[in-house]
């Protein structure tokens, strides 16, 4: 169940719409737990969306992106069956990756 990503990639004319949901706490480092101990910062810092192994959108994030992040992007030139991936790396060096094919 590690670093899971849910991806949907759908064609609308010549545009491929990608929607991704990532499993990540996106902790700011500013919160405290119920015992009053600080919860360490843990957030996705970098996200990449690729189409057939070519980067189409790349993001740098701060901790202000919400927990279990959602990302929607669009690109041209996709065909049904093409591979789309979304991958992330967080501030602790952990990574996650998901893959789907365009419908």
């Amino acid at each position: 169940m590690a670093g899971k990503i849910r991806i949907r990639a759908q064609l609308d004319g010549d545009t491929c719409e990608v929607k991704a949901l990532m499993r990540h706490p996106m902790e700011t480092g500013l919160r405290k737990d119920q015992a009053g101990e600080p919860i360490p910062a843990n957030y996705i810092e970098e996200v990449t969306v690729t189409h057939n192994d070519k980067v189409v959108v790349h993001g740098y994030w701060g901790a202000a992106v919400s927990a279990n992040p959602f990302l929607g992007v669009r690109f041209a030139g996709g065909q049904a069956g093409d591979k789309v991936t979304v991958s992330w790396r967080d501030n602790t060096g952990e990574t996650g990756e998901g893959e789907t094919t365009i419908r």
Binding site: M1, A2, G3, T15, K19, R23, H24, P25, E27, T28, L30, D33, Q34, A35, G36, I39, P40, N42, E45, E46, V47, T48, K54, V55, V56, V57, H58, G59, Y60, W61, G62, A63, A64, V65, S66, A67, P69, F70, L71, G72, V73, R74, F75, A76, G77, S87, W88, R89, D90, T92, G93, E94, T95, G96, E97
Partner: protein
Amino acid sequence: MKVEPVGGMARRKFLRVGALIATAVALPAKLWAAVTKPDAAFAATDLNATFAALGQTPTESAGIIFTTPDIAENGAVVPIKIEVDESVLPGVSRLYVMVEKNPNPMAAMFSVVEGSKPYIETRVKVAQTCNLYAVAENKEGFFMASKETKVTLGGCGG
């Protein structure tokens, strides 16, 4: 007096922050080398300093279509959508999301590779009622659209 966590002091043993996230795939330390992270902009603690770190205060542009809710039920998750009218603002290669009154206004920056649409949907934390900014960058410089989102106090207040 220290308030004990509900459920006792036993340390959480499952699905703790980070515990869930094992390294499933070996990825390079950086996912993409083409753009470096503008660390100063992410570290800035007010909007003007964020703009300064990017190098320019953006000018208002009707070419940015920025959708956020007028009023959010919860500031922890505020959906945003940025679209660009490419007939007004062509060649946009970067999009930025900023939340004026967050501890660090810069929430996210996106590089849009040629062939991709300057289009982003995501969800951000908004600490208190304030303006949200969508900033677009092209060869001409920086452009922006802003919109206020009201964050309400929820539930029983406790």
